[in-house]
Amino acid sequence: MRIEIKQNDFMLKLPIYLDNNATTPMDPRVLEAMTPFFLEHYGNAASRNHPFGWEAEEAVDYAREQVAKLIGADPKEIIFTSGATEGDNLGIKGIYEMYASKGNHIITATTEHKAVLDTCKHIEKSGGEVTYLEVQPDGLIDLKELEAAIKPTTILIAIMYANNEIGVVMPIPEISAIARKHGVLLFTDGTQAVGKIPVDVNKDGIDLMAFTAHKMYGPKGVGALYVRRKNPRVKVTAQIDGGGHERGMRSGTLNVPGIVGFGKACEICMLDMEADTKRISKMRDHLETELLKLEEAYVNGSREHRLPHVANISFKHVEGEGLLMGFNKNIALSSGSACTSASLEPSYVLKALGLGDDLAHSSLRFGLGRFTTDEQIEYTIKAISETVLKLREMSPLWEMYKEGIDLSTIAWAAH
């Protein structure tokens, strides 16, 4: 007699990580590249007078080339930062200050990351003017609206490459064409896109771009700001003053091990991008197809213009945080619901798509990655489907929906 053993039950290690938009695990190859720069080659890259400094400088130069290559830039156009938030601040505030004599108007979108939105708010407080473009139901901006928003005082358009919550990829080359036509600079937050999809600063016509290592299997605490050096030559005002590192645009001793890791991570992304994308998007599509078999499940944002590893799905009539609780010991995911916050406001990105609060409260964000496996996806499909069904049995809204009651006609007791 043979006892049937499901092999997957043994191979699958829990918990499963599907929150790769928040951060990615480090690739072991990256760690390997970094290690010697903690213990042996620990010099300061700015120490010009001894071998320790020379080694560090050489390693930084090499990493700068690796990073530049991934985005089709010149190494001289890479300014190392502490991450994308710093890059967003330096890029936007730096342009606002540097180009003050040309104008004070910036155009951005409502679905940008807080690092961009809060930077823009800061600029508004200090006398600048910011236009926040609404997005269409698919999450993309309307290019006509963008062009119409440009004024003689407009100095910068700041539109993200790909959205962190819904994975929607903006038409950057088209946005750039509009920016160029009007002599306006284009800044893009490339955090979610760089390393995942082909990004080329010249083909895409990007003037400034912030991105970070920890979203592409590199270490946390290191990122870069790309600043175009020709056609046109772009300059930013430093936001951190000091020893004049990074051609005066970002002072502070360079994080050599981090930068080395960042470089290696970029190199691996470049080499593996095609194969990774093929494998990951296949898993994502499978996950999505299976979960959409549940009734009243919807994908949020454009499915056509989207990162290959992201899916944001709303399961109507179940609440996101309640849903997460069904499996969050075993599956790491994010929810668009903000029941944990006192404000009870769901995701502003999902609301910007025109989603009702109920659907925004019912969403899950899946971020697959290089280390996601088929077994993990199978487990996830099963766990989520079961939890959705269980919670719908418990949901008064689901019962009403099933009885054919139009929920929008109910006078809910505001609370």
């Binding site: 009539h317 179940v318 609440e319 996101g320 945080e321 309640g322 609780m325 069904g326 619901s337 903000a338 029941c339 944990t340 916050s341 006192a342 009870l344 769901p346 009702g356 609060d357 109920d358 409260h361 049995e393 418990m394 949901s395 008064p396 809204l397 689901w398 019962e399 929920l407 109910i410 809910w412 007791a413 505001a414 609370h415």
Partner: protein
């Protein structure tokens, strides 16, 4: 955010999930919250001639704490008189479930659902609706 053991237990093994006949004269139904706020609770009580709650059921759309609050409320309601049920305070629920401050609104909602169900029962049976003070924590 870590949930308390009791919240997890109610979430995993909710007590008294279900639906009572809302048109029955001895059933009181309370539907509170709003989908926009991320939680909706429906709590129902069945009352006998002596004014005792013989059954209670709930269905909740919401986070784990909201589900646990309503599950606990139904447990407490069963076997109580309607008058005693009115004494259930949201802070009792907070204490029993160790709800953190951001989840206090879940307990408030449960208290509101109890009161709303009782009023529905009272009105159906020719009794006067009780006017409650507005809950503070909303």
């Amino acid at each position: 955010m870590a949930y308390s053991e009791k919240v997890i237990d109610h979430y995993q093994n909710p007590k008294n999930v279900g639906t009572l006949d809302k048109s029955a004269k001895n059933v009181g139904t309370g539907l509170v919250g709003a989908p926009e706020c991320g939680d909706v609770m429906r709590l129902q009580i069945e009352v006998d001639d002596a004014g005792m709650i013989t059954d209670a059921k709930f269905k909740t759309f919401g986070c784990g704490s909201a589900i646990a609050s309503s599950s606990l409320a139904t447990e407490w309601l069963k076997g109580k008189s309607v008058d005693d049920a009115l004494k259930i305070d949201n802070m009792d629920i907070v204490e029993e479930l160790n709800l953190p401050p951001v989840k206090i609104h879940c307990s408030v909602l449960a208290e509101d659902a109890i009161k709303s169900a009782i009023n529905d029962y009272r009105v159906k049976n020719g009794l006067e609706e009780i006017k409650f003070e507005e809950s503070v924590v909303h």
